[in-house]
Amino acid sequence: MRSFRLLILISAASLAVSGVAYGSGFSIFEQGAKATAMGGAFVATADDPSAIFYNVAGIAQLRRTEVSAGGTVINFANEFRGDPNDTLTSGATGEYKHHTFVPPNVYAVMPIGNNLTVGVGTFAGYGLRTNWEDPWVGRFISRDANVKTVSVEPAIAWQTTDGRLAIGAGAEYRRSHIILDRNNPAYNPFTQRVFDAVNAHLNSDWDSAWGWNVGILFKPSPTWRLGASYRADMTIDYKGDAVFTQIPSGNAIVDAGVKAQLPPNQKINTSINYPATAIVGIAHTVSVWDIEADVTHTTWSRFKELAVNFETTPALSFVRPQNWEDTFSYRLGTNGRVATHWDVRMGLIYDENPQPTEGVGPLLPDSDRTALCFGVGWHNGPFTVDLAEMVLHFKRRSTNGLSPEFNGTYKTDANLIGINLGYKF
């Protein structure tokens, strides 16, 4: 008798990371409600404590001790439609489970003397979650991918006495945690169907790395401002655990076959190369309106592959090529000081995606994005309240039949609401 083998393909078949997110790839650029309302065009303005994130030089302008805390409430609506020419996905649809994401941000700054300001901020500059609603046709590639980061950044900035030039630097301590979850299929000869044999759940520890960033702000005239910032790339090495859970098939013989081949739970490790981000911007004031235009360059080409090593069963280790490309995003924003206590804001964003077509998949169906932003700011004495609304549209993204394993079209929209509360001492 030919040997009876249940093929449990826990190995190479996949488990890539990528990011679905809110800035291209899996960056999250919404780290302050004022900046968010201005479409993130803030590098040459940077006049609230979120400057620690956008342009650290900006905190030198803040000559009072200030704190600001807030978050961005992010909701997604998405849809996957299978490719009629792909026999796996033809006719299939899918969508994310509903999650509301609230990456938080907290900043505090304190001037020292006449020229120096120190500060500390915490924010979540990267993150993603693609968690598909069952029964998801792509669950053998990815059911859930979740990348979380949280950064703490002490910062310092100095400006000339006339306030025309400011420089700053920060040290970012970034902690991150990754979950990758998918099912592994096998053929059940009793039902002559493909069934979910094993769930593979990869869960990293909270691992960390240090990075740095610098910024500069220059005001050549009372109505013109130039800003630039650079946040260095970073690599986080992750350690974690792989947990394999057998999924009963309803047939004892099949289950015994799966059990015999179930790999032991074991340690895993991987690393992710985070990109560097460089931003330049120019801002101009016309009557009560500040208008700013920024260009951001992100070195996503550092995200070449995702390699996960399994320590007990090396045969399970896999390398998923990502081959992302560097991206630019373009941001235009305005802030209008329309009343004594009130500002109104608007912004526009065009954000290129870094992902090659053949890499588009359930882990991260990224796409070029456009966003329209609105917001208001209220300030009275020591109090500040900023609200932002962003309508984010992902261009419809098709694999165009180029995916080796899973073709289809992804449509995604997101809505982001930012809020920050500030207090000046």
Binding site: M1, A13, T87, L88, P135, V194, G257
Partner: protein, 500 residues
């Protein structure tokens, strides 16, 4: 005035756009799928695990093709005036009873020991899926299902009565229902029935045609006759045909699983000085060592277990001396010799050339079934990363009878016809999804199917299983299976138990 002229210009432009758009739409699909009809044999009928039954007929290649073009499958309760794709549904466990797997080995393959019944025999119009198990081209042109003296395999089975119902031959019934599109994967049983009977002889000039291959000239004549009848009767209908994989005998478990060498109980070769020992069988009418490369047909595996085919010189030696039939030769019909395999492969090659030539002359596209089986062989076919291979029981492409496909296999097959149709007719039929065969996507089906597997393991192929396995092997003048055995079988085992 100016404004009026602008309106006129805009209207003219719009009109032009509309007019231009109409032929563009038409060009998107030069085929009309409002009434699809299929001709063919057991494959097109949806024969799975040695049985024709509704659990698999709903995934027959013909049904899959029709569904993908937008058709709805007829239910037994539908009237003949309803617009749906009608098939000769047979209640589970089918005709004959479907093979099931009770444990992952040859001996775990058992047949459900009772038959289903036709569920739509009174359907008052020809079926859309006219494919009839065992149908040679001769049957497609002639067999009406009322023959009293069978001259072909189909006529010797109940299937002529089940499918054709005396309403005319396959091709006549196809034409009579004014098809707009015809799927005709035909001619396979003009070699297949010989092969599954361990034979490679040509049929004679006149019927009966049992266990034999149609000579190429007659194949050509009959193949062209079927197509020409369709073209004459339904001149507007689109047609797609398909070729046959010549290397199928090196892949199909039925003909390739068991080499004709002495095997131990685990089916591993017994070696003598490092060499396998050939089995003993009838070659050219006389007992002899079977030539290397011979294969024992799957249903004959049981004979091996009792010692048949063990060479006389080993028959007295342990452990073979305990086997009752050791030293007795395998019958000619148990074995395909290399010469027979080559003759059949050569015939398939010739048939494929004929099909391409005849189809090309009529501007009919030919689905590349050979290409599908080549990809399966090369390990290039998978479902969500699970490889679909030709391996028996575990491979996913072939069912438990070893010579027909699984639902997954038929979906892959149907998709070849869809791809060919799309490419030839400029249509956009979506491929049939394999995701419907994810067990967890289809809990009802999964429960129904796994519920069938509560049978006890038996030590070898059961007599019913062998009968099922041998269904396409040899052909008697008497029907092997009656269409009904136990009356109402819709409640399956429970009824059976009560009768006992």
């Amino acid at each position: 005035m100016t404004r009026n002229r602008s309106y006129a210009r805009i209207t003219a432009a719009l009109l032009f756009v509309v007019l231009a758009a109409v032929p563009m739409f038409a060009a998107q699909g030069k085929a009309d799928f409002s009434h699809v009809v299929a001709l063919g044999d057991s494959y097109t009928a949806g024969w799975v695990n040695g049985s024709l039954n509704e659990r698999h007929q709903i995934y027959s290649p013909a049904a899959i093709f029709a569904i993908q073009t937008g058709a709805r499958l007829c239910q037994p309760t539908d009237s003949a005036t309803v617009d749906c794709f009608a098939q000769p549904l047979v209640t589970w466990p089918g005709i004959p009873g479907e093979l099931q797997l009770t444990s992952p080995s040859l001996t775990g393959v058992i047949a459900t020991p009772y038959n289903g019944v036709p569920a739509m025999s009174g359907f008052a119009r020809p079926y859309n899926n006219l494919a009839t198990p065992g149908a040679m081209l001769f049957d497609i042109l002639n067999t009406k299902g009322t023959e009293t003296t069978p001259v072909t395999f189909t006529q010797a089975t109940p299937f002529g009565a089940v499918v054709e119902r005396g309403l005319g031959s396959q091709v006549d019934q196809a034409v009579a229902q004014h098809p707009t599109f015809v799927v005709a994967w035909i001619g396979g049983d003009d070699f297949f029935l010989a092969a599954t009977s361990g034979s490679a002889v040509d049929c004679g000039a006149n019927p009966p045609f049992f266990n034999c291959m149609s000579p190429v000239d007659r194949f050509k004549t009959q193949y062209a006759a079927v197509l020409d009848k369709i073209i004459a009767g339904a001149p507007q209908a689109g047609i797609v045909v398909g070729d046959f994989p010549a290397a199928v005998f090196t892949q199909m478990p039925y003909t390739s699983l068991i080499p004709a060498i002495v095997l131990d109980t685990t089916l591993k070769p017994v070696l003598n000085n490092g060499q396998p020992i050939p089995l003993f069988g009838i070659v050219n009418g006389a007992p002899a060592a079977l030539p290397l490369g011979s294969t024992v047909l799957l249903p004959s595996a049981t004979k091996l277990l009792s010692g048949t085919g063990i060479p006389p010189q080993l028959a007295t030696l342990p452990p073979f001396n305990t086997l009752p039939n050791a030293g007795k030769p395998l019958a000619d019909a148990d074995v395909l010799t290399p010469a027979e395999q080559q003759a059949i492969a050569a015939r398939i090659t010739a048939i494929n050339a004929a099909i391409k030539e005849i189809a090309a002359a009529r501007n009919i596209p030919v689905a590349d079934v050979t290409g599908l089986f080549n990809r399966i062989k090369a390990g290039q076919v998978n479902v969500a990363g699970v490889p679909i291979t030709a391996a028996y029981i575990t491979g996913g492409a072939f069912g438990l009878d070893g010579n027909h496909l699984t639902d997954i296999g038929y979906t892959l097959l149907a998709n070849e016809f869809i791809k060919t149709t799309n490419s030839a007719y400029g249509t956009h039929i979506p491929l049939a999804p394999l995701s419907r065969f994810f067990q967890n996507n289809d809990p009802d089906t999964a429960a129904a199917i796994s519920g069938n597997n509560v049978m006890s393991t038996i030590p070898t192929f059961s007599p019913e299983a062998i009968k099922t396995l041998e269904f396409f092997k040899g052909a008697p003048a008497q029907p092997r299976f009656r269409t009904t055995t136990h009356g109402d079988t819709s409640t399956g085992g429970e009824k059976d138990t009560k009768q006992q």
